[in-house]
Symmetry: C2
Subunit: 356 residues, 2 copies
DNA sequence: TTTTAGCACTCAAATTTATTAAGTGCTAAC
DNA sequence: GTTAGCACTTAATAAATTTGAGTGCTAAAA
């Protein structure tokens, strides 16, 4: 679909240098800088001619005539697709991730930890979108005290979510059992995003008799499931330090945009096919996001799609580092977290060794 | 301790008008504005003389010689203590609160809802500090599946908190029972803030035998209890619109300050004696907070102290509205939320009526 | 044909200067 | 005690000036 120009080696080198310098410095890059800093064995005049051609081909832009060049969306795209070198995550970052994400708590808690860690490392807001195509597999209701029930929802993909229901009346054990059975019968297999609706139907159809208790239980479930379908993470403190946010209006617009669920929602729905999706600047249909890049990675486990981890920042973001961070998190996630299969196996291995 | 000047009626009226106008407009208030807007039956020259006296007495300050006056910390203090009229919360706000806070979820979830609502109404960041002098009353451990335990912690004050522990090995029912008994025996009465320490002791002393499972359980509890002892709430979007944040450095400093746990921590510990505490500007020992006011209200229920609800904003905050909002929340809280006694009573009343 | 030195030109950003308007303090009269 | 009137101060705004980074083009060199 997109026609990729054939760039000769020198042009590639120049483009890649401009992108990398601009990512680092946030200043338009001039011909002199390129020659000096990136040891291009040509005079600045030659580089200037090349840059002009690159601009005419749409890879670079010039904020104004007496400024250096900055990459265009097309330039970033070419860089990401063809020029960028994979880089390994630094040991500092690896250690930080390993020591911070501990796998305690329910799925949401772990997602939150991940978003936190990614924000810290990349100095960027991070959003986690949970998979709401996942379906309910099993519901348990546990009586904690006279008027407190604990409801545990387990999904097909193995995530766990629980909520507390405070009852207005006391309730008999056998009532709880009946209720649990009905809930399981009617709700098993329901996609989480349809749970809201399904609960209404269930109440109408089969749970009239329990209406007193059910209101409390159902409302608790609804509330728990409805909240933070998208988990927005701060990371704001650090992104504000970036030079693109030296303008107060940009700060406000960005913060507002990030708080507008609809914008973020629609932006994140794009990447359906690819596990790693990179949407740069004007590639994003939402105009307000045209100055930003969103990089998302599907989080999977045992080939089950659990959700999407997305990073939102200025187009001038460190693509290489972002991608390697996301990938590292995903690898870690696959092997250690939420499911305990592997953790169990490791222990199993140890005990076998011990046995001989 | 503080010497309160005797201000005559005219001075009081002027001071109160300056404070209220400045709270509304964020601009230094001049003598002419006062005469016109607040119908003071004197010429601007007279008002100027009075303002000069008020400044000399320390109630007002002048940003520069050709500007109007703004209230000093002492001026705000006098206003809050002596001049401010209590105002009722508007019906719009009351409805918003009533419709948004629903009482579902555990204590943390409800606190979060409250912080959210307060932020929205006051356009200000809101912090909730949980009472960590509360003690553990009862611990329940529920087996959800082979390798999943649900641990429910109930405190003396009636708050509930739960966490999920993922086990590395399967566990027998009777083991869970034994473990639960030991946990309850050893931990009942432990203050929540000492739980971390106490857990270590318990493991050392009585739970050696269960070490395999306990690690997971204990870590889960620890993690759950350690996180968000202070729940910081955003509300940032809206506070940024206020004119004091038109300077980008102030924005950054404020956001950084709010993210620095220690500062907020120490600032909130002040108000020990009073249920409603107001710390204005330089009354705050933390220098970074000298431009801000913190208003906190103890949240209580059945005379039990559950935590503190605090609002942080510029000195120029709407004191009357903030206070009435906090009070309304607290009243609501006392009667409806967390505990279900009242809710139960209401239903009971209904059924009695129905019975006749 | 490709590269480069050299120079005129452009334009944003920084700096300086001028203008404006809001508000005061003081004096002298009411 | 109050107030009209006026000189004075100063931040904010606008306008003018300077500076400097970087370009594009031309013509000569490789």
């Amino acid at each position: 679909m997109v026609i990729v120009m054939n760039l000769d080696e020198r042009k590639k080198k120049i483009l890649s240098s401009v992108v990398e310098d601009y990512i680092e410095s946030a200043e338009p890059v001039g011909s002199k800088t390129l020659v000096e800093k990136y040891h291009l064995d040509y005079s600045s005049a030659t580089i200037r001619n090349e840059m002009k051609l690159l601009e005419e081909a749409g890879y670079l832009e010039q904020p104004h005539v007496s400024a250096g060049r900055i990459p265009s969306t097309k330039g970033y795209r070419y860089y990401v697709d063809n020029l960028m070198k994979e880089r390994k995550l630094s040991m500092v970052d690896i250690n930080y991730i390993d020591n911070t994400i501990n796998g305690f708590g329910d799925t949401d808690a772990i997602f939150e930890q991940i978003a936190d860690v990614v924000s810290k490392i990349l100095s960027t807001p991070t959003v986690i979108t949970k998979n709401n195509t996942d379906t309910i597999e099993n519901i348990k209701v546990v009586k904690i005290s006279d008027k407190l029930l604990l409801i545990v929802l387990m999904s097909k993909n193995g995530t766990v979510k629980d909520c507390i229901a405070k009852l207005t009346d006391t309730v008999e054990d056998n009532v709880i059992e009946q209720m649990t059975n009905i809930l399981n019968r009617d709700l098993a297999g329901t996609p989480i995003k349809e749970l809201h609706l399904a609960l209404n139907t269930v109440i109408m159809k089969d749970l009239q008799a329990f209406s007193g208790i059910m209101d409390d239980v159902v409302n608790s479930i609804k509330y728990e499931m409805s909240k933070d379908m998208k988990k927005l993470n701060s990371g704001m403190e650090k992104i504000l330090e970036k030079p693109e946010f030296s303008d107060i209006d940009k700060v406000k617009n960005f913060i507002n945009m990030m708080s507008t669920k609809e914008i973020i929602d629609s932006a994140l729905q794009k990447s359906k096919d690819n596990k790693l999706s990179i949407v740069i600047g004007s590639e994003n249909k939402e105009v307000l996001l045209n100055d930003y890049t969103i990089i998302s990675l599907d989080i999977e486990q045992d080939n089950k799609y659990l959700g999407k981890l997305s990073v939102i920042g200025p187009k001038r973001m460190n693509y290489a580092k972002t991608i390697s961070t996301l990938k590292y998190i995903n690898d870690k996630f696959k092997n250690t977290l939420i499911s305990n299969k592997n953790k169990g196996n490791v222990k199993g291995d140890n005990s076998e060794k011990g046995r001989r």
